[in-house]
């Protein structure tokens, strides 16, 4: 497979070095210039500028158009999304080569591909990279840190490391395999499988983390004359260990489902509820 790609690469304009440079620029700037209006457009253009120059050589007109073209609105997940950069470069290469012929790739095809794919790929990347990989790494880091181990503070760096490796791989595959392979892959169920499995792992971890790190119980007791007091928490534990932490997670979950994801409003609510229940000894944080 990889030797296969090497074969393809020989017939192409951009070398590994070019791709790395492009990726480095992208990686560095994805979110830096993120604006409400165009989001990652500027970063996209900035990342491709060098490679575009090489492809269009001294066709200034084509080069200028390409630069402007890639300043248009763009937004996707930065890691998986790098496959789009790769494909776009391969398309620009084709366009640059066949500039005069009638069957030259039109601008619309390139932009269409970009805008068509950036949405779905953002969905995939947000789920896999940000919804699964990130929390797992940070959970591991938290768990080490809570045991007082200093490497807990270092482990989060595994995340950008993974992002770099995956992202570059994506860009390169996109460039070498081109538009059709990517579209085909998107349609095959494979990516859904991947998301499904990653989600399973993610949920498993979230369950374990919830059980480990949500600490809430009730200190309530009912005393009767001449009888041992009834400790509510003991009865709850008999029914289901961890029933209160579970209630907390799903209380929040359904709040979000029903009221919308107003993160900070909910935080405030939680603090208010905590202060009240804590003050009156209904709940305790351990």
């Amino acid at each position: 497979m990889s030797s296969n790609l090497d074969e393809i690469q020989k017939q192409r304009e951009l070398t590994n070095r070019d791709l790395m440079k492009t990726y480095a620029r992208w990686y560095l700037s994805v979110e830096v210039s993120n604006s409400y209006e165009r989001l990652q457009a500027l970063a996209f253009c900035n990342a491709l500028s060098g490679s575009l120059k090489k492809l269009y050589k001294d066709d200034d007109q084509g080069y200028r158009e390409a630069l402007i073209r890639h300043l248009q609105f763009y937004n996707s997940e930065g890691t998986f999304g790098a496959v789009i950069h790769g494909v776009v470069l391969s398309m620009e290469e084709e366009k640059a080569k066949s500039k005069d012929s009638s069957d030259s790739l039109s601008e619309e095809v390139i932009t269409g591909f970009k805008t068509g794919l950036m949405g779905p790929i953002a969905g995939i990347g947000d789920t896999l990279i940000w919804g699964t990989l990130k929390p797992i790494i940070l959970a591991l880091a938290s768990s080490l840190a809570l045991s007082g181990l200093f490497i807990g503070g270092i482990v989060p760096f595994l995340f950008p490391l993974a992002v770099i490796l995956i992202g570059y791989g994506m860009m390169k595959s996109g460039y070498l395999l081109g538009k059709d392979s990517v579209t085909k892959l998107m349609k095959s169920g494979l990516i859904n499988n991947l998301i499904n499995s990653a989600s399973i792992l993610g949920l498993f971890m979230m369950g374990a983390l919830s059980s480990t790190y949500i600490k809430v119980s009730t200190p309530l007791e009912f005393s009767f004359k001449n009888a041992e007091p009834i400790v509510i928490q003991d009865i709850l534990d008999q029914i289901l260990v961890g029933i209160l932490p579970l209630a907390a997670v799903f209380g929040i979950y359904f709040y979000f489902k029903l009221r919308g994801q107003y993160y900070n409003r909910l935080i405030m609510w939680l603090i208010v509820i905590s202060l009240i229940t804590g003050f009156f000894g209904i709940l305790q944080g351990s």
């Binding site: 200028r64 300043l71 919804g131 949920l203 809430v216 994801q261």
Partner: protein, 250 residues
Amino acid sequence: MNLLVAALCGILYFIGTSRLGYGLSQATGSPIFYGLILGLVYGEVEKGLIIGATIQLIYIGIIFTGGNMPADQSLAGIIAIPIALQTGMNVEVAVGLAVPFGILGIFIDQLRRITNSYWVSKAEKYAQVMDTRKIFHCAITYPTITIFLLTFTPVFVITLFGANAVTSIMNILPQGIIDGFSVAGGILPALGFAIIIMVIGKREIMPYFFIGFFLVAYLKVDVMAAAAFGFCVAALTMFNSIKQKQKEVN
């Protein structure tokens, strides 16, 4: 607080939110990382890590869909950790302190994105003349300078004067309130996990959440054990559906 420490905090917050390097902020801006560094500064590594990790867990589920920051874990961490280490505040109260700053940070980010619009329009002009060096500056240099000003300043000021203010408040805090914060510190991580369930929790795989939960609840295994088992189950599911897909094709 010490001027140097306040400056360090300002710089740490700048680095952690500069966004140079996609996803890098998740490491350089992680409260755990702040906890480590500031723990070293104050000679209380363990406490620093614990506060940092507790704050981290609250925000563990955050995703910046469409570039929108729902809450700012870095500001929460960089304010609460040094003040807690300085004043000897306990972990739960520190977390309670962190939370409002987690909200405040959003506004800083919004400011940043608003100013960025200006650089994009600039870049458009440079594109016309193919001045890629200037495009580069619009994409990286100028926004970075802006964000430095936006982030360093408030954190420097707050950490410089915050500790004293907090100490005087702390002295009058009744035990009931501290208990309340302790409940908050215990419950808030639920937020992080609930958010992730929102994103990845399709109904038909939700039981895995509960399996993970009860594995820990009843068998007292640690989180990495759950990760190991979860990984195995995920791999099995993956291989299984690949196999089935192949069968369908044949």
